[in-house]
């Protein structure tokens, strides 16, 4: 296999080349001005925090996941989807500070941005009661709004604490199934390790999708096994009610307690799963909707 040997030698050379340091200089520390007047916010939760901290006038651009508050995407430029950023496109909005969720990408572009002399801050994205205040305090310290951030974080913490008390008052816990999407009559549900699983727990609701991890499409038979008391979905717009009502009509769910009581909760996606400052109230709305006295409950964001 002479050909193979030759190719492997070439491959080896390629790897060696990749390991070589770039012959461009890194930006000097002096370039990184500690100016926060032109902020690029990447991540829906981060944009929300910046608006809550009253920093909106400093934001020059956001990414497309910044759906709340709704004016963010209207007033500010959009640099596209947070996991498909463009290095030059991002720099073209002339930011002096980039605050990004640690989910931003692709990694090569993030590296280029970090070496561009613009200050780049990663914010950890943990969908939990502890993660949200930590996020707020980090963003606040970066933009020099520590006091406002402390106030907001403690407000969120006390809301989470109140939520914890209310969870203890629940007598018979219900189990809910989070349905992300229905395609060709097959439902994709949220298992453990997802943001949906976290918000269900915070709302004092058991996740019916036991044994599933991540967002997975499941069979009708599996759905029948889950037998949820409530089905939770994301609402994408006013015209989406039809789509939502499809869920209870799925063969696997038609015999479930949820279908019998017509218990379906549809909530705004970013509100429910964004884990920004509105997370406690999203969890509370979900709790109210799930434990509401019978009938179909549609919580407003």
């Amino acid at each position: 296999m002479r050909v193979a040997t030759r190719l492997f030698i070439m491959a080896g050379a390629a790897l060696a080349a990749m390991a070589m340091p770039s012959f461009s200089h890194r930006a000097t520390a002096a370039d990184a001005a500690i100016e926060t007047t032109r902020i690029l916010s990447i991540g829906g939760d981060i944009t929300e925090i910046l608006y809550d901290l009253g920093q909106q006038d400093k934001i020059v651009a956001v990414d497309v996941t910044s759906q709340f508050p709704p004016q963010a995407l209207k007033e500010k430029k959009s640099v596209g989807y947070m996991r498909a950023l463009s290095a030059e496109g991002t720099l073209s909005v002339n930011p002096t500070l980039i605050i990004a969720s640690d989910g931003a990408g692709p990694p090569e572009v993030v590296n280029a941005l970090k070496s561009s002399g613009v200050r780049y801050v990663d914010i950890a994205d943990k969908p939990s009661a502890e993660g949200v205040p930590a996020k707020i305090l980090h963003v606040g310290s970066v933009v020099g709004a520590d006091d406002a951030a402390k106030a907001l974080a403690s407000k969120v913490e006390s809301e989470f604490a109140a939520l914890e008390n209310d969870r203890k008052l629940i007598k018979t816990r219900k189990k809910a199934l989070f349905v992300l999407a229905i395609q060709n009559g097959r439902a994709t549900v949220a298992g453990s390790g997802t943001s949906a699983d976290s918000i269900l727990q915070l709302a004092g609701v058991d996740n019916a999708a036991t044994g599933v991890s991540g967002f997975k499409p499941v069979s009708d038979e599996q759905l029948a096994e889950f037998a949820p008391d409530v089905v939770v979905m994301m609402r994408r717009g006013a015209t989406d009610d039809h789509n939502a009502s499809q869920a209870l009509a799925l063969a696997g769910l038609s015999q479930s307690p949820a279908a019998k009581t017509k218990s379906l909760v549809a909530m705004d996606g970013l509100y429910l799963l964004g884990f920004g400052p509105r997370a406690p109230s999203a969890a509370r709305d979900l709790m109210k909707a799930v434990y509401a006295e019978g009938g179909q409950a549609t919580a407003a964001p």
């Binding site: 296999m1 050909v3 193979a4 030759r6 190719l7 492997f8 070439m10 491959a11 050379a13 390629a14 790897l15 080349a17 990749m18 070589m20 770039s22 012959f23 461009s24 200089h25 930006a27 000097t28 002096a30 370039d31 001005a33 651009a61 497309v64 430029k77 959009s78 640099v79 596209g80 989807y81 996991r83 498909a84 950023l85 463009s86 290095a87 030059e88 496109g89 991002t90 720099l91 073209s92 909005v93 989910g103 990408g105 692709p106 990694p107 090569e108 572009v109 590296n111 280029a112 070496s115 561009s116 002399g117 992300l180 390790g193 997802t194 991540g214 967002f215 997975k216 499409p217």
Partner: protein, 361 residues
């Protein structure tokens, strides 16, 4: 060989411009689009900033604006342009070689398993990189994906060649069918891995499969340079053998072509070219299929024109598509695969309807 060559020359003599003029025009086209690619970008920095960018690059100035010019022109646009040229040239030439080897106008580099193998390994790196494959993937950092893609493509092709070889001979027909089987098998394993991926990994996968040059860097340029050099030396020497294959494998042998050697070298060159392109830019379709046809329409079926012509035209096409990809929704960016098909498909259809597919029937 003289009768065969003169037959080709005769076939081309009636309508086509001379090969020299075609190459001159193509070279001018490539140069123009390469300069445009350096001059156009969402930041609006133009080529006038180039001297200042060089000064910053050599350390003569520490001015922040100059540093920014340097970053955009020298660290972002220049490697991007070079990589676009490499990817376009590599994919188009591979397509031309595959179509010649299989004598099939629909042949593309995917036929020898390199794309499906690269995809399988890339998907594994994305999805399993945080789990069971972490000890291998983590130390490679952001290079895990390109390296996985490259070796996946290469490994699949080697397996395929071993399967299709009997008594030291490589059967083209078996290769084609085994290629489909191996491709389907790799795709099914990819499917299993996609099934267990979470939503973020799923987004990464989808975007990778649409291809992009936004991650271009000097590291990637230096990684593909050895491939570019080897391919530039190897591919022109395969033209005569591939011309023989146009008549059929047995006929090629009678013409004195070492068919076994040609087959193996063509496959090796294609695997290396496609593996390297997929590694640096993800999956970019369309170029490998279409550019060789356009080249045959312009310059006739002779591979001595088709191979280098496809390389230059493919490079120019991908550079143009990349300029559009980074400008059309700025400051965001479209995946280049979408742009290529959007521009290329109507143009190709127009050419085919007007002039017919030539050179391979």
């Amino acid at each position: 060989m003289t009768t065969f060559d003169s037959k080709l020359a005769w076939a081309g003599a009636t309508v086509r411009p001379s090969r020299g003029k075609v190459f001159l025009a193509l070279a001018a086209l490539l140069l123009t689009v390469a300069v445009l690619s350096l001059a156009i970008g969402p930041t609006g920095i133009s080529l006038q900033a180039l001297p200042r960018a060089f000064e910053a690059s050599l350390g003569f100035t520490t001015d922040a604006a100059a540093a920014r010019d340097r970053l955009v022109l020298i660290d972002l646009r220049l490697p991007r342009t070079l990589l676009a040229a490499f990817v376009g040239a590599a994919l188009a030439t591979s397509g031309a070689m595959m179509q010649g080897l299989f004598r099939n106008p629909l042949a593309d580099p995917g036929l020898i398993g390199v794309s499906s193998g690269a995809a399988l390994f890339a998907i594994s790196a994305i999805v399993l990189g945080h789990g069971i494959a972490a000890p291998i993937v983590a130390p490679l950092g952001i290079y895990a994906l390109p390296i996985a893609a490259f070796f996946g493509g290469l490994l699949t092709t080697i397996i395929l060649v071993v399967i299709a070889s009997r008594h030291g001979e490589l059967a083209v027909g078996t290769l084609l069918l085994a290629g489909i089987a191996v491709g389907a098998f790799a795709a099914s394993i990819s499917g299993v891995i996609v099934y267990v991926s979470d939503d973020r990994e799923l987004r990464d996968l989808t975007l990778w499969q649409m291809g992009s040059l936004s991650g271009a860097s000097w590291q990637k340029v230096s990684a593909v340079t050895p491939f570019a050099v080897v391919l530039a030396l190897l591919v022109p020497r395969l033209a005569r053998g591939l011309n023989g294959f146009l008549l059929g494998e047995a006929e090629a042998m009678h013409l004195g072509v070492d068919t076994e050697r040609t087959k193996r070298l063509v496959i090796a060159a294609t695997a290396a070219a496609v593996g390297a392109s997929v590694a640096v830019a993800g999956v970019i379709g369309f170029v490998g299929l279409v550019v060789p046809h356009v080249m045959r329409l312009i310059a006739g079926p002779d591979h001595r024109a088709v191979l280098p012509g496809s390389a230059v035209l493919g490079a120019a096409l991908v550079i143009v598509a990349d300029i559009v990809a980074r400008m059309i929704v700025r400051p965001a960016e479209l995946p280049i695969g979408i742009v290529l098909a959007f521009i290329g498909a109507p143009v190709f259809l127009h050419l085919v309807l007007r002039r017919g597919v030539r050179g391979l029937e």
